[in-house]
Symmetry: C2
Subunit: 225 residues, 2 copies
DNA sequence: GAGTTGTCGAGAGCACTGCTCTCGTTTCTC
DNA sequence: GAGAAACGAGAGCAGTGCTCTCGACAACTC
């Protein structure tokens, strides 16, 4: 219902986002220009502001979309593992889905995990979307706990309060040790992907993904230990 | 020697870099403006181009300086450990020096390890400077090898060739296993710092540095295992 | 010492950016 | 059908990186 105006608005909003993503992939997020999008769209630059009040708002919309897509990619990767009790395999699948998405959408990855824009404070909607890809790891740990697995890593005392809060936020019954193992794995994987995508492995590791595989294997052992 | 012209040039070059760093600390690297620097310097914008042919060249100079400073900070931190055979302590000191520098110079950290500028290809001078802070970790592993320590981590086959090349580049006699352990630790630490500085731990880990400490401890155990 | 050469800062200007404001036109709502 | 709201166009502002020209001065050559 509700007329052609609303439909037209939804269509051009989607078109703006599509063109923005296209432009971002071609020239990087920092080069994203509202005026260029307007030109591609065949309208005058000021008209864009009817749809996004500022460049930051456009970026926010793109960030939310990208978090969702990353989340879906990681979920799909992890879900493809048949033997659900093979927790190491599930971890590997999730981690490799993460890296693959990052490589295939490097400008979006940079948008999510690169330098934050100085004045830009992430709105609440983005942090909700941002949790999606991490939830996959939590679900693996939760299933391990349900299967009777007990993690025995030392938990730094300072982390206790945070882990308690996290557990109640996530509504899961994962031990402090399991959460610690998970966060270590998370940090390591993110570090490896960032190093690779942001060019810090040039002349260090030429074999693409070799460092990443090593990191994933190390933490596969840790997670299932 | 050689006259006032050369001295004046060196002075204003240094002043430009100083103002650039100041401005970067205040508003982030992306907001760095040649015109603003010129204004602060009391000269017209086009005059800046006598000293740096483009904004990218200024950024390159800043990047090299920052890599050097980071390297020095990590070296100093690691050197402060008295018992040179306490390799875990040396690792902790180096890692914490890295994080401390990152926090104290967050805009410079973002410049080094954040989103690379799309068109920007790091010149050879930067990659030389970039190795400095990593060399500290290598030196710890080298000393461990000299002290008879043998690392037993599994080494991914695909990494072999890269590790061979690295070893000869570095001119050190560290085993493949030791290098693998080191690179894993490197990736994890970089990941933890990036997550913290780029705001991805908001509402996840509020205790500053708690995740970092956990990561450092885990790899301290790995390195000395 | 005189003359040439090269460096420097100033100024104007180009193409671009995000963003604001106004002004008709079109669509929706009552 | 009348009033309100949404929309696109256009002009304009302040800012950016960068280029070009021009006059002043230091540095080197003869």
């Amino acid at each position: 219902m509700t007329g052609m105006r609303e439909r037209a608005r939804a269509a051009t909003t989607a078109e703006i986002l599509r063109l923005a993503r296209e432009q971002m992939a071609a020239e990087g997020a920092s080069a994203l220009s509202l005026r260029a999008i307007a030109r591609d769209l065949g309208m005058v630059s000021s008209a864009i502001y009817r749809y996004f009040p500022s460049r930051d708002d456009l970026l926010t919309a793109l960030i939310i979309e990208s978090y969702e897509r990353l989340g879906i990619a990681v979920e799909d990767g992890e879900r493809s593992v048949r033997r659900r009790t093979d927790f190491a395999a599930r971890w590997r699948a999730a981690a490799h889905a993460l890296r693959t998405w990052a490589i295939d959408h490097s400008s979006e990855w940079a948008l999510l995990f690169g330098t934050p824009v100085p004045g830009y404070a992430a709105p609440a909607d983005t942090i909700a979307a941002a949790t999606r890809y991490t939830t996959v790891l939590i679900s693996i740990l939760t299933d391990m706990a349900a299967a009777g697995h007990v993690h025995r890593t030392a938990v730094p005392k300072v982390l206790r309060a945070d882990l308690d809060r996290l557990r109640s936020q996530l509504g899961t019954e994962v031990s402090d040790a399991a959460l610690t193992v998970g966060m270590n794995a998370w940090a390591a994987v993110m570090g490896a992907v960032n190093l690779e995508l942001f060019g810090h492995l040039h002349n260090v590791v030429n074999q693409p993904g070799a460092l990443f595989d090593a990191v994933v294997e190390q933490h596969a052992a840790f997670i299932t230990a």
